[in-house]
Each structure stands twice: as C-alpha cells, then as structure tokens.
C-alpha cells in the first residue's frame, strides 16, 4: 500500500511540475530558446524529492546515477527527431525516435549500471 501511495505522489508531483515548466516554456520566444525547457528537470526534481523523503540520500544517489544515461539518451533523441519530423507525421516521428532513446540509453546505462 505504501508503495502505491508513493507512486501516486510521484505521478502527481511529476505531472504538476511538467505543467509548470510547460507554461514557462510556452511564454518564451524564440522557439529554440523555449525548447531548452522541453528537457527541464521537472520529472527528475519530483522523483528525486519524493525518493529523498521516502528512502533517503542513498536511493536518490542511485537514481541520479541512472538518470545520467536517460538524459544523455534524451540529447540523442532530440537530435534524431529533427530529420524524422521532415519525413513523417509529427506523432509518428516523436514515437519512432523513442526507439533511438531506448538504444542510446541502453548503451550508456550498461557501464553505469555495472559500476
């Protein structure tokens, strides 16, 4: 039961922070500058805060170490999605590039998770 409550808190906090950063991004111009906030640490701040309060600094450290792989792969995702947006419908391009994220995250995560 405790784990379910924590998941719900993480989801609510993550969604709320994402909306806050999205509103900030929406107000910014030009679009390239606003795009910085597409990769804002909204989910990370929510997730790490709840982890810190629930489990302590050790688990938050472990999550942060794993996050390096996810964030590096996000840069690869953003690079890959640009040419895909020329060739495919937006939804298709955004979803297809998630395959690139998965592959890149796996490549970076293997040494991180083994360490």
């Amino acid at each position: 039961m405790h784990d379910v409550v924590i998941l719900v808190i993480k989801a609510a906090a993550g969604g709320t922070l994402v909306v806050a950063f999205a509103l900030l991004s929406q107000g910014l111009e030009p679009k390239r500058f606003a795009g910085l906030f597409s990769a804002a640490p909204a989910v990370a701040l929510a997730g790490l805060t709840v982890t810190l309060l629930d489990k302590g600094a050790h688990d938050a450290h472990q999550s942060s170490a794993g996050m390096i792989a996810g964030a590096a792969a996000m840069a690869v995702y953003a690079t890959a999605v640009i040419p895909l947006l020329r060739r495919a419908r937006p939804g298709v391009a955004a979803i297809a590039a998630l395959g690139v994220w998965t592959a890149a995250a796996a490549v970076v995560a293997v040494p991180l998770l083994a360490g």
């Binding site: 993550g14 909306v19 390239r32 795009g35 906030f37 794993g66 996810g70 964030a71 995250a105 998770l113």
Partner: protein
C-alpha cells in the same frame, strides 16, 4: 509555408532575442496542459514502478525519458508547424545535455550535502548550463 523555406540550420545563430510573453501563456489550451500533465505523471509513475522492480539505478534511467519532449513536439507540430517543432527539438538537444549534467551533479553530491541543497544546486546547474550553451551556440 514561408517558414518552411526560411528554416534556420542548427549552426545558424538566432536573430530574435529571448523574451517572455504572458500573451503566449494565455493562448495555452487546457488540452495542451492535460496532455503534458499525463506525460509527466506517466513518466514519473513508470520510473517509480521500475525502481520498485529493478532498483533505483534502473528506475533512474527513466527520469531522462523524453515523454514530455515527445508530447511537446507533437503539439507544436500540430498547432504551429513542423518547422517550429524542429526548432524546439534543437533547443531540446542543449537542454538534455544540461540535464545530463544535472544528474551528474546530483549523483556526485547526494550523501555529501543536504538533500535540498543537492536538488537546488543541480537545478541551478541545469539552468545556467542550458542558457550558457544557448548563448555560446546560437545567441547573435
């Protein structure tokens, strides 16, 4: 569309100065916010669930899952155009590089500094590095 023919390359500097407009914020529709809330909540819940099953390191990888970027790109392409979505993604490359530094700073300092200080420091590093890289690469 004229915007499609005048598209900047990733190496081009951006003429327009960064600014904030409340008018743009007011144009945001509830649908856009709901989609982003769901993307953020789903990513957070997925990361939490994976953490419960496989441990904090594996779950942490999903803290960098680009669900929000994917939702934003789709919404921008639908409601503005694909050129604007590509511009957003170019900014996202730099934002994601800064996000990797956010994670690295947090990983290095958790356990050595109070947790609140770690999160604040990591967030400041993300903001400073993202804006600095934007300025170096694209500010005219």
């Amino acid at each position: 569309m004229s915007t499609e023919t005048q598209e900047l390359k990733i190496t081009d500097r951006v003429e327009q100065r960064p600014r904030f407009s409340m008018d743009n914020v007011r144009e945001t529709t509830p649908r856009e916010l709901i989609i982003r809330f769901v993307a953020g909540a789903a990513t957070s819940a997925a990361s939490g669930a994976v953490t419960l099953i496989f441990g904090a390191r594996v779950g942490g990888v999903l803290l960098g899952f680009p669900a929000i970027m994917a939702a934003s790109l789709t919404l921008i392409a639908e409601e503005e155009d694909k050129h604007m979505a590509r511009e957003d993604a170019r900014g996202g490359i730099v934002g994601a590089c800064a996000l990797a530094l956010f994670a690295a700073v947090a990983a290095l300092t958790f356990g050595h500094l109070p947790g609140g200080v770690v999160l604040a420091l990591s967030a400041v590093v993300w903001a400073v590095i993202a804006v600095l890289l934007y300025a170096i690469l694209w500010y005219r």
